[in-house]
């Protein structure tokens, strides 16, 4: 009796599960499939759900139609620059907010938190004008510096630093250790999990970033891979197989990182959502 009642529920559960998998997997599958098709197969109606032979040529085409290496290099430089800049700027600030009492602290920290609420998209125009007037358009600086004082990062690190026991700090101060020594020998090691989480978030955010590199650059000099892929769409829009091959090359590094650090990334995003 009991199994009879449960069976429909179970079947429904399985059906929904399959449906969910299909919904979330299909776009990826379709991208991969398209990337390996010939143009004829791409345009065939009804579409083919499998390919006879893999067209690796599409990847070669995508790679040569745009200066793939150039865009990738820019993406890496900007990602790396943002990571390093964040450590230099965010760690001292978070340390001060966590371990010091000073006049104006609440106001300053409030300002930091408030900036988290401001969508950067809203102020791209005044910043563009600032960059243009100061000759910073089309420089790596313009795509790195605005992002290194991340409010989220300061907030997360501050929480971590606050949990370092006072006794450790006292001991270090008795040894006459300088503040920077304290930061680098006590605070940073204690914050390694948080720092690596932040590094992952920054990597994902910077690698994927499209809007700011689009509006704050006017030449290809410092443009990043997402813009390169858009360029590919502009010039090869009638050949979806090449666009999808390029798109795959943009996605794969992120997917690799995701597969390797899945648990940590999910934890990081969960933290961001419930802070």
């Amino acid at each position: 009796m009991k199994t009879l009642i449960r069976a429909p529920g179970l079947i429904l559960r399985i059906l929904i599960s399959v449906l969910l998998i299909v919904i979330f997997l299909t776009p990826f599958y379709w991208m991969i499939l398209t990337a390996f098709k010939t143009l004829g197969e791409v345009l065939a109606m009804p579409p083919k759900f499998w390919v006879e032979s893999l067209q690796w040529q599409n990847f070669k085409d995508a790679f040569t139609r745009i200066d793939f290496l150039h865009y990738t290099r820019n993406s890496l430089i900007i990602t790396l620059g943002t990571l390093i800049g964040q450590v230099l700027v965010v760690v001292p600030a978070a340390y001060a907010f966590a371990r010091y009492d000073f006049k104006g602290k609440n106001g300053l920290f409030g300002t930091v938190l408030a900036t988290m609420m401001i969508p950067g998209q809203l102020i791209f125009l005044p910043i563009f004008v600032m960059f243009a007037k100061s000759g910073l358009l089309n420089t790596y600086v313009s795509l790195i510096v605005p992002f290194i004082a991340s409010g989220t990062a300061i907030f997360m690190l501050r929480q971590t630093f606050m949990q370092v026991p006072d006794s450790q700090l006292e001991a270090a101060r008795l040894d006459n250790a300088g503040e920077f020594k304290i930061i680098y020998t006590i605070m940073m090691p204690a914050a390694i999990p948080t720092l690596s989480t932040l590094a992952l978030l920054t990597f994902i955010g910077t690698w994927n970033s499209y809007f700011f590199p689009l509006v704050w650059t006017t030449t290809d000099a410092v443009r990043t891979l997402p813009l390169g892929i858009q360029r590919l769409q502009d010039i090869e829009g009638l050949s979806p197989q090449i666009v999808m091959a390029g798109n795959m090359m943009l996605i794969v590094p992120i997917l690799i990182v995701f597969v390797v650090a899945r648990k940590q990334i999910i934890k990081a995003f969960t933290y961001m959502g419930v802070k």
Binding site: S134, N138, T219, D220, D234, L238
Partner: protein
Amino acid sequence: MSMWKKKVLPLMMTVPVTMGLAGCTQTDAEVSAAPYEKGDQTIELQFWTSAVEEVNQTLVDQFNETKGAELNIHVNAEYQGDYWEMQQKVNAAAIAGTLPNVFVDEVAMTKGFADNDIIVNLEPYIKATDFDRSDFQIGDLGNLYVGEDLYAFPHMRSVPVMYVNKTLAAKAGLDANGPATFAELEAYLQAAHDATGEPPMYLFNYDFWVMEALLHSYSGTTVVNKEETESNINSEGAVKLITFIEDLESKGLVKVLGVTDSDAFYAAIAKPSTALIFSSIGGYKTLAGMAQKNGLELGVSMIPTGEDGTRGVPVGGSNTYLANTGGDQEKAAAFEFMKWLSDTEQAAYASANTGYLPTRLSSLDTDLMKETIAAFPGYQVASDQLEFSKMRPMTGAYHEIEDLMGGRINEIWLENLNIQESLDKLAEEVNVILNR
């Protein structure tokens, strides 16, 4: 708190101050220019290209190997995307002070660039180098002049033409040259539609340039008045044209495509069921190739004539511009490159490899052009159509106006709005922009 305030504020105040200064640079158009003189050091030039990447790159490579090597000039080409992306980047670069030396962009933008000091008057350079402009096939009506002065060289210039699917025409027993007048258009499309059951014609009105040709030819009117102070989009002729297309659309004879459909539009040209399409001759080679792959023969005819045999086509495409950047010698070197790029052989090469019109009369006498015209008769049709040349509007705000008109007119067709009423409102909106 007070501490960082003091430090930060002075630093920020400098920003608006420098902004004010940068806007004030003015150049005197009447200054004379010295001809280029070869120096010991190679002059590096930046050249921004648009629309057709490969042909431009090949030409630049050729220049660097021949004339450039001779004159000690080296050109670096960088592709910047379509005309509007290019316009955006050029304007941004002008503010940032990072203009390239020469760039390619759409012809209706000439005045906007000149008004904003982004490009340089070419007259002094023409005088200094005894350049002969009478060989340009596209001249007075080519959106090259601002006032009396030449501000641009024609680059890849085009006219809208009517592409005819000859394969379908033969099958349906229709004239392989397509309809000669708009009066014959409906019957022609109906017959093609009966033969296939599919839409026989696509219209991409966001390419407003094609609409300009229809306004000239079907309605005998223009988009804006001669002084460019008032819109003609609600004139009797314009209303008749929009009504005419709506009628064809409701009968399933024309399919109107929106701004997002440019890819679908170009794909539609090579469809076996598409009988006619109005589009640029600039894509001739590409489109003919696509059609051939689908086993179709694509013919080229002139835009049909209106009631009294009226016909007019705007001469669009791109110009090259000499940007207001660099020292005198750099500018003189850039002008040398522009001259070379527009010269007989290069103009022929650019034309033969794309479909754009050869910009030089002398190009027509080259072997390359003769062979090309023999193999692709559409070139001759487009060249002949130049007889009906019209200028494109010059106003710097035309891109905004084009977008607005494209969107609004699309809306009329898609939602069957009252045509006169909607066009009256649209004309008012355009007038606001024109008189801003």
